[in-house]
Amino acid sequence: MIIDTVDQAKIEAAKEQPWAALGLKQDEYNSIKEILGRRPTSSELAMYSVMWSEHCSYKSSKIYLRQFGEKVTPEMKKRLLVGMGENAGVVDIGEGLAVTFKVESHNHPSYIEPFQGAATGVGGIVRDILTMGARPIAVMDQLRFGAPEHPDTARVVHGVVDGISFYGNCLGLPNIGGETVFDKVYQGNPLVNALSIGVLKHGDLKLAKADKVGDLVILFGARTGADGIGGVSVLASDTFDADGPSRRPAVQVGDPFAEKVLIECCLELFAAGCVSGIQDLGGAGISCATSELASNGGKGMKVQLKKVLLRDESLTPEEILMSESQERMMAIVPKRHLRAFKKIVDKHEVEYSVLGKVINEDRLLIYWGEQEIVNVPPRTVAHDGPVYERPVRKPKWQAPLNAASVQARGLYRANNNTTDLAAQFVQIISSPNQADKSYITGQFDRYVGGNTALAYPDGAGMIRVSEETGLGVALSTDANGRYCQLDPYQGARLALAEAYRNVATSGAKPIAVTNCLNFGSPENPGVMWQFKQATTGLADGCLELGIPVTGGNVSFYNQTGDVAIFPTPVVGVLGVIDDVARRIPSGWQDEGNNIYLLGVTKDELDGSVWSEVVHDYLGGRPPAVDLEFEKRLAELLHGASLQGLVASATDLSEAGLAQALTESVLRFNMGARVWISELCERDGIDKTSALFSESTGRVLVSVGREDDVKFVGLCDARNIPVLRIGVTDNTGELEIQDLATWKLSDLRNSWVATLPELFS
């Protein structure tokens, strides 16, 4: 093995280096040389190339993500213990407790190797949460697949679902919800986003920093292998002798058992006060962990790479630096705690190795035996990467697409044909995106931990955090790529509004936001315009709602050839509830309750499920959003839940009233009689809009007769339009007057059969 040392780099200045093959641009390579005052060694080049990649450096998105930190009021920051930039944001939820939550993408690996891609996606996000000093308590996943009938879709669906099931279930984390969407735009670019949430006491917060000189740098957990080495394989085969490891799988391989042991081991280490800083090893492996810990601590680090425990002894130093082997952590441990550290890792039979120590010098020094192979200022690797202001241009197709509304196109509405309209109802609720998802969620453990208060098919997930008081958190995530394609600014606000409403509908109070921004190539000015619009829309929306973005993730390059996915900014909203016993169910349980529709229904069918499923059409402008109204609606639901006035609440979003009615009757098998004529009259809309419009700011609630007057009074006092549109009725039927009557068993069969028929 030929080692390229710092001394070598000084002497042999003109050596050709494979910077382009590693994904660096000429000017980026030049600035590395400028920073170092010489050419980088091959190890340094490898580190910079990975850390300056889009994935690690956010170089194209940074200038827009800043808005999330800038568009905030002091009020919004009150609950924020840790904001953006750390592994995950941390929010105060009262009672001395805090939660940390984040959603992250694992899109590209999940297309190449769906099972391992999705599995390690779960593993990665859970380690991010753990790194904050929190016990992970739940996971969710946001999935986007290609067209259901496309021959390749089943491969991806089965792999991804099996991967999440395999990894998540073995970790003992309940899966409390998520999203599954099919659309041909995701055919070659499925989206696999994973969310995790963790809980910690205020005082237990851990940060990824190495700021005490002399503290030890310890790598522990799984051994380092050759998995997950992307760019470096190119380097290895270009620069080194041919008999070393060359082409390596770029997708990591996960071992959930090792992760579960690591979680328990870390929590015990935290409780014993053994570590002063901690960082998980995810993308860019040791390169990332060492440089970020040192940079965050404002100190340096001296590391002996030969101390790294390996699965494959033939790995080169560059590969060790880049390996993305899973289930590893790096701890900063004061020397006096080494014995206690060792006792705990030994108890869990976790391997560890002391790699080096924190030094009082602004350098990251990495040695391979006697040879110095890295000598860089840590900040230049971890934080001072390039920042781009990429060209932004509204796509030419945008204006014509917006002009081609459902109205302008004159799409057929079955207002006067009851048979057709009833058929559309069933066609829509049994379409793959609207149909029952238990084929997928039934493969995930939602019970483990014994604290799951709500999970699919409920609109939001909810987890009890304190067994003593019942304090809990609710979570919902949403994104609608079709809306975002029509208007990315509005689409992001719509996703925010829906997630916010879902949380409010559960009885919780929304307090914080996370996001996972899935887009096409940032080198495409049209995509950059979408990104700019979406981030601006989200930041503006959060400011209006008064809840902060605590962190997030960006995934670019989700495109095949020149065709990008629909912009898909997944927005997650976290809510807090003082006692989960007070949560609002999402379906009807009791007979004889009045059914009320809150909010106003407009003729808003552009981008709707109706336009997609019935007419295979996309054009126009997405529904309007009134966040001030959403806020009032949320306050109403919160108030009603405190007084125990509502028996159930379901938000209206995709597929409008039709979907909300279906889910409400099927949740507990309680029938209903519903009329829509008054709604049509009051709001000046036709039957198609009444059933399928996707106007925002609407919730369907059921109220016991004894609470009727009080509830309507509450709505009036808050100026929320309220209309009684039906009663629950234990007949085993859903009757919509002047339209149709369905047996619940028939409706259920249509709703449930779709996904098993496609994928079983």
């Binding site: 003992g172 453990d445 483990v448 604290n451």
Partner: protein, 231 residues
């Protein structure tokens, strides 16, 4: 009344089992796989999870753990032992119960609210039920298909050792719809579904009374408390 809950590396439902014991009125005591001692407990629960990553065969490595030596010995002397899911697999691998558990028929992990019929109440863990009771508790497993030789099945059926049978849906292809078994003495019971997830209103399966409020699992733990007191 002290009931031990063993934590193996990869155990997941150990906290849930401890909570269930507490809610039933017992005192949970945590036991560690690498310790030989079982701390003078009056009964033991082997909880669900993926002990040792389920490498080799589910439950096979756990069956060899230091703590199991003692548990196997004491079980032979009449100590009540309940194995839930992975715990059932461990009991089978320890030969405390006959047969084996294989990959679900449909090859997928299944999580569902499962209806069961109580077939036998002559055991330390089922005495609070009535024979023929229909109960609903969560089931969640990837390898829960019960198999046994014809001879063993005949013996189990003949001697009334089948304690629970799946109703309506057989979720994993188990022979004779077997969901759980007891040993001849009645102190050892193993089952795939999870009684510890149906013990607290608000966090269990849906019940006719209210959302997520089924508590049919509580009787498992009440049974053992009763049997230990009367013993």
């Amino acid at each position: 009344m002290k009931i031990g809950v063993v934590t193996f590396p990869g155990s997941l439902d150990d906290r849930d089992a401890a909570r269930a014991i507490r809610l039933a009125g017992g005192e949970p005591v945590s036991l560690w796989h690498a310790d030989k001692s079982i701390k003078k407990v009056d009964a033991v629960v082997l909880p669900g999870g993926f002990s040792y990553g389920d490498y080799l065969r589910c439950g096979a490595i756990a069956a060899q753990a230091p703590v199991m030596k003692n548990i196997i010995k004491k079980a032979g002397e009449g100590l009540p032992v309940l194995g839930i899911c992975n715990g059932f697999q461990i009991l089978v691998e320890s030969h405390l119960l006959p047969g084996g558990l294989i990959r679900n028929e449909k090859q997928h992990f299944v999580c569902r609210d499962q209806k069961l019929r109580v077939e036998n109440v002559d055991s330390a863990w089922t005495s609070a039920f009535q024979k023929g009771d229909e109960i609903t508790i969560p089931l969640k497993n990837g390898e829960g298909g019960y198999i046994a030789t014809d001879e063993t099945l005949k013996m189990l059926e003949g001697e009334g050792l089948i304690t629970f049978r799946y109703l309506e849906v057989n979720p994993n292809g188990s022979m004779n719809d077997i969901a759980g078994l007891r040993n001849e003495r009645g102190n050892v019971v193993g089952l795939m579904p999870h009684p510890e997830h149906a013990v607290e209103p608000g966090f269990g399966p849906d019940s006719p009374v209210a959302m997520r409020s089924g508590v049919d699992g509580l009787k498992f733990f009440q049974s053992v408390l009763r049997s230990v007191i009367s013993a």
